[in-house]
């Protein structure tokens, strides 16, 4: 079971990123999240979500999902590393293993874009 993303339901609100940041830091911060909304192409209205798992980087683009095996990923082509902590240096998703209610990002996502499967 893992976190899944429906990019067409995403509205780029960043609630998932905020949730994951709290899970990592016990504070509100965005630099440690393993799930991020990429929003660097706002003039094109092109946005989606990136999730780092143990072995894969999941890129949920509007036109569909792309899975890149970590190690084979060219970080310079990444979507979410614009001056922030690069995705590959962040910890992988652990499904919020310390929470009885499961991943906090799923609970906070207001649009149903994040689900478990």
């Amino acid at each position: 079971m893992g976190v899944k993303i429906d990019p067409l339901k995403c509205t780029a609100c960043m609630a998932c990123e905020l949730a994951c940041g709290y899970h990592r830091d016990d504070a509100f911060a965005l630099l440690s999240s393993c799930i991020v909304a990429y929003r660097t192409r706002d003039k094109k209205d092109y946005f989606g979500v990136i999730l780092k798992e143990e072995e894969d980087l999941i890129i949920a683009r509007p036109e569909g999902l792309e899975v890149k095996r970590i190690g084979a990923v060219d970080e310079s082509q990444g979507e979410a590393d614009a001056s922030a902590k690069p995705m590959l240096l962040r910890e992988a998703c652990d499904l919020c293993e310390d929470r009885d209610d499961g991943p906090l990002c799923k609970q906070l996502c207001p649009s149903g874009a994040i689900y478990l499967d």
Binding site: A15, A27, E63, P110
Partner: protein, 433 residues
């Protein structure tokens, strides 16, 4: 102020070039809570130096649903009164994480300048290479120069440099909620833009309880009357403007949210290319974001097609002109053809009818989707609460779960300070004028 804050207020004197820092104290937070309450106190403290005050609300950038709002408090060139302009999308969040809770900008720079706010540092920079650029070019340039595409830019466009009363504060490339001409107020200080990046961290006093309550709150909010709706079309229908959705449809692309705000109010119009296409467009600038119901309705009611309205909105965005104000002035003057409107933007100015009070009229003056309030007094109080706590001024109109009692409870949990209904009442009365 240890929690939900960075503990710093920057005081920037553009005339002398000096930047000083003051502590954001527990006492100030306890008395004024945050957002508009603190902004107004700082405005009054520096009033003789015609300040523009930036601030975030107590909950801006936190897990409280709708926590997107920053605000700019200054004297409006259009009304001559002190107003609070909302800074939505991602601007409020980045400000909150920038290392400053509040920023006082006073005096006038001797030469064109811009501010670079990040990591608890506030620098005054030379804007000679930015002055004269349109809003989009200036945003692109400052982001490229800094090498960071996530910098949030509060910008003044060419219209502001020319002194138009309709020159609003732009958020990166797009309009926000400024209907008060504060772009002109920035340019009058020789200030082209304010670049902000937030990479900080906000500690929470009782973090587990605070987050638990936020999770419970979002659980309630998710099943609200707004659920399943998005964009300006649905927003228009909720206030009786049933034709707006059909008018927008031919060029409507996607709708997107402000930071941590469940309802996606911002609608993007594709002016070139297929709006149904989801792949990344090759065209780097395919359209324009409409972020305000009043602006969209104003253009529609001029009799423009949505494609023509998009062209007008795009021209306004690059010039840094308030779409709603432009529509209002053009309607009053009988200018209703798209080409004539765009030509008129070169020297368009006010006045604009219907501006009153300290809060921007960019949101409907009634509850939206859910029926839980209406009337000027209710709307003004709801806006005051949003501007104090840092909550999206539109979302608070569709979210009855965000009660004053709940917000006070969260404020105490988040900060370890005691807040009371009486204290909130006093701050509301003060900021609502």
């Amino acid at each position: 102020m240890e929690f939900l804050a960075s503990e710093q207020i920057a005081v920037i004197d553009l005339a002398s070039g000096e930047v000083t820092e003051e502590e954001f104290t527990d006492e100030l937070c306890q008395e004024k809570i945050g957002g508009a309450g603190v902004n107004l106190a700082l405005y009054k403290q520096y009033e003789a130096e015609e300040p523009v005050v930036l601030g975030a609300g107590l909950f801006t950038g936190t897990m409280v649903p709708g926590s997107s709002l920053g605000l700019m408090t200054a004297k409006s060139p259009l009304t001559g009164t002190v107003v609070h302009t909302p800074l939505t999308q991602y601007a409020g969040m980045e400000l909150k994480y920038s290392g400053f809770d509040y920023i006082v900008i006073k005096g006038t720079a001797a030469a064109p300048s811009y501010l670079w706010i990040h990591d608890g540092i506030a620098d005054i920079e030379d804007a000679s290479g930015l002055w004269g650029l349109d809003v989009w070019a200036a945003c692109d340039k400052v982001r490229a120069d800094m090498g960071d595409e996530l910098i949030q830019v509060l910008g003044a466009g060419p219209a502001a440099e020319k002194g138009s009363d309709l020159a609003c504060v732009m958020l990166n490339y797009w309009h926000g909620g400024d209907r008060f001409g504060l772009g002109k107020a920035l340019a009058a200080k020789n200030l082209k833009l304010i670049a902000i990046r937030g990479l900080g961290l906000l500690e929470i006093a009782e973090d587990e309880e605070f987050v638990e309550q936020c999770v419970e709150l979002i659980g309630q909010v998710k099943s609200g009357a707004w659920a399943g709706k998005k964009g300006l079309g649905d927003l228009g229908a909720a206030v009786g403007e049933n034709g707006l959705a059909d008018w927008l449809a031919p060029v409507l692309h996607r709708s997107r949210s402000d930071f941590n705000t469940p309802f996606a109010a911002n609608s993007f119009l594709f002016l070139e290319g297929d709006p149904a296409e989801l792949a990344e467009p090759a065209n780097p600038e395919p359209g324009v974001l409409l972020a305000g119901l009043d602006g969209a309705l104003g253009l529609m009611k001029l009799g423009l097609t949505v494609a023509e309205a998009g062209d007008v909105a795009l021209a306004c965005a690059k010039a840094g002109l308030d779409v709603s104000g432009v529509a209002s002035v053009c309607a009053a003057g009988g200018t209703t053809e798209a080409g004539a409107i765009i030509a008129a933007l070169e020297d368009i100015s006010g006045p604009v009818e219907g501006l009153a009070g300290p809060f921007s009229p960019w949101t409907p003056k009634q509850s939206v989707f859910a029926d839980f309030g209406s009337g000027d007094e209710w709307w003004t109080r709801r806006q005051a609460v949003a501007h104090i706590f840092g909550l999206d001024p539109l979302f608070v109109l569709m979210c009855p779960e965000l009660t004053e009692e709940k917000l006070l409870e969260l404020a105490s949990l988040g900060t370890e300070l005691e807040f009371s209904a009486e204290g909130l009442e006093a701050v509301i009365a003060e900021v609502a004028g």
